[in-house]
Amino acid sequence: MRADENPRRVLRLAPAIGPHSGPGSAPDAAPRTGSDATGRADDLLQRAGRGDADAFATLYDLLAPRVLGLVRRVLRDPAQSEEVTQDVFVEVWRTAARFDPAKGSASTWVCTFAHRRAVDRVRSVQASTDRERRVALLDYRDDDGVDDVVEQVEARLERERVRRCLDRLTGIQRESITLAYYRGYTYREVAEYLKVPVGTVKTRMRDGLIRLRDCLRVGR
């Protein structure tokens, strides 16, 4: 099976709400949601860094759904995902005093850390050798595993917005980003999987993210 026979398969988000807006749709006019939550998370994390456990608990409530959702997408296994999520938040607590809002938001800080943990785990678990890893890559093709996720929380607008912006990327941009972010592939593995040169994948990851950034209107 070629990777491109079903280009939407790579990113199988939850069922779409409303009419499908394809690559040719108008720029996203909806205001960026969640920016209040962003400022709130920054404040909570800073308070947690000063030892405020209540602030930390509120921060957990705010970010745990995103962290668990992300880790689960990468790892797939529910038990392992909860274990990693738990470790992530304990580590967030431990290092909270080192959070610097001038360098990025609390949610980015936490999600970046969670993603790295999940990716490190998936790489070490799934591949003790290159060969096994290759087999693991092949296995991934036919099992998406995300569909059985039913406990989606309130994230429909965000989901729509993200999907719309991903739809606006070129096929290679979208696949490079989703294979890396949701599957933990390195750019070399993405290149091998998509059968395109590694230089192309590096470039597409960068310009794809830049296009996404502009579409999602991400601050930092």
Binding site: P27, P65, T112, A155, R220
Partner: protein, 239 residues
């Protein structure tokens, strides 16, 4: 001083799609390249924003496990940052690193530092990206011409440049690419290739010259000097 590769890796790094060696290499570079650090911060935030689409309600047991553990977990002090790391002060107040100091020495006639120029270039690049994205969106809404075999191509040309927007392209077998051609009285010239697996292609083609149409063919990877297969579409750009 900087391996030329490092900057090309910012996207892959932001997605954690690099190996441990490259990760260290990029991080060493970021410590001395404020421009790169800014870019990575933005790309990271973008990647993190993707998680908004995948939130899952965590079980209550997870919450109590986390809160139970932090009750007995000591916190690290706010770190004395490693000296080469930039501080959380506004950009213009940050201490000048060795690399930036070198940049400051290279002040141009206009009084801009190299870092300023990088930033301006990046702003310009972003502006250009946005403009061409807008133009592509506008263009892709026009009907376009059907390609033989599937997909459509819309074209608009101004002076020496042509913006093409291809949609719903069928995936080509491995080792094949789509190739664009300028077609005019002076002959047929290559206008570049596009990945055979791209579903949609938006491209600014320059050097149209006297070309009167843009054609598309399927060619071997790397493209051909002249078309070697039948023309899928021949879209006029001059009337």
């Amino acid at each position: 001083m900087t391996p030329p590769d490092v900057h090309a890796l910012t996207g892959a790094y932001a997605l954690d799609a690099v190996d441990a060696g490259e990760r260290a290499q990029v991080e060493a570079h970021l410590a001395g390249c404020e421009f790169c650090a800014e870019e990575v911060a933005g790309l990271r935030a973008t990647a993190a924003a993707l998680t908004e689409a995948d939130a899952l309600e965590p079980p209550a047991s997870l919450r109590s496990a986390v809160l139970g553990r932090i009750a007995t977990t000591p916190q690290l002090p706010a770190q004395a940052e490693r000296p080469q790391k930039r501080q959380g002060r506004p950009r213009w107040l940050r201490p000048v690193t060795a690399a930036a100091a070198a940049a400051v020495v290279a002040v141009t006639a206009a009084g801009l530092t190299v870092a300023d120029q990088h930033r301006r270039l990046d702003d310009e690049r972003q502006r250009a990206d946005r403009l061409s994205a807008l133009a592509s969106v506008a263009l892709s809404r026009s009907a376009g011409m059907p390609l033989d075999g599937g997909g459509s191509l819309a074209v608009v040309a101004v002076a020496d440049s042509a913006l093409v927007s291809a949609r719903d392209l069928p995936a080509l077998p491995g080792g094949r690419v789509y190739q664009f051609w300028f077609v005019g009285a002076d002959g047929v010239r290559s206008a570049g290739t596009a990945d055979g697996r791209a579903v949609a292609v938006d491209r600014l083609l320059t050097g149209a010259g006297a070309a009167r149409a843009i054609a598309v063919t399927v060619e071997p990877a790397g493209g051909s000097a002249q078309p070697t297969t039948r023309t899928l579409v021949n879209a006029p750009i001059r009337t």
